[in-house]
Symmetry: C2
Amino acid sequence: MTAQPKDSSARRGTPDATRRNEASRRAIVTAAFELVGEVGYAKLSIEGIAARAGVGKQTIYRWWPSKGAVLFDAFLMFTGDQAPALPDTGDLEADLKTVLRATVEELNDPRFDEPMRALNTEILHDPALAAVYAERLDGPMKELKKQRLRAAQRAGQLSEAVDLDVAIDLLWGPLLNRWLQRSGPLTSGYADAVVETALNGLRPHA
Amino acid sequence: MTAQPKDSSARRGTPDATRRNEASRRAIVTAAFELVGEVGYAKLSIEGIAARAGVGKQTIYRWWPSKGAVLFDAFLMFTGDQAPALPDTGDLEADLKTVLRATVEELNDPRFDEPMRALNTEILHDPALAAVYAERLDGPMKELKKQRLRAAQRAGQLSEAVDLDVAIDLLWGPLLNRWLQRSGPLTSGYADAVVETALNGLRPHA
């Protein structure tokens, strides 16, 4: 039982070890994501994740301090890695409907519902995790949304006077809120209505 | 130890007993509300509530099946009982700013923050509680909001074409979402910007 570095440089250095590490990491975050959907966050455990991933507990603790941290990286892998730019067909209203309908589908997908509720529960009670989430997950997605909205401003389809953070909240906030609080049906029709109402505003039109 | 009705009609019938019951109920829900703010929902217990309220555990179990149910009634007492109609000065924009600024103040109030996060955590994971919340707490508040918006429609300040449920989500959703996800500063300036942007819409104005 001699003291050793957590990750020996001999193993870390070789391409094979790097590939093995990468495969283990993927197995672990995939297991965490699947398990939280099956048993819920309260019953998610490092033991359970290790068993599902076919690794030892120590392998998980070598890379992550907690189950919340594993789950967070799972979200980064499943959503962050593949976050594409928003569509730009030149028609802001149509593009926003496409994106918000996709958001509705994802929120209604049972594979995502429980893991995302688990993540949101953690964020609700953990300001530090909320800050990491804002920086690493929500931030990059928000930047892609802003890019599309700036293009719409240049095309004369979005007011130059609008604060883009407020615009994003107005478009996505109602959907997220309806999902989190289960305050009404979350349908593609609702997504369309949010887009139309946000674009047109609540005031009467002359 | 003979079987007895949970609340004997002899006691229930007298005015004194009714007053005592009412005082006990108030003490219990007040204790639950205070305690959840101090220790968080996970550590809230019926024992703790009973000790704080100066009653026996059985007194609580006589009226409520769980700590979640006690907390829910606390919210009804503190917010539902006193929910007033929205102000109507004849100026929709000014009135909405008044109301949303008050919402921001409440969400930022440490006395409400933790109990409301606890309630929202329960709603997030409990569809049955979400339904009760929608019916007993959110529903009546939503009706008051709709009354104000209908008056605005009659006064020509709100489009007749707008779905009032969508309008409410567009106005309150961003605030709730920013509070729940801690995704940005929750200030009176933000409340004003949400009202202005929702009323004017995102499109450029001619």
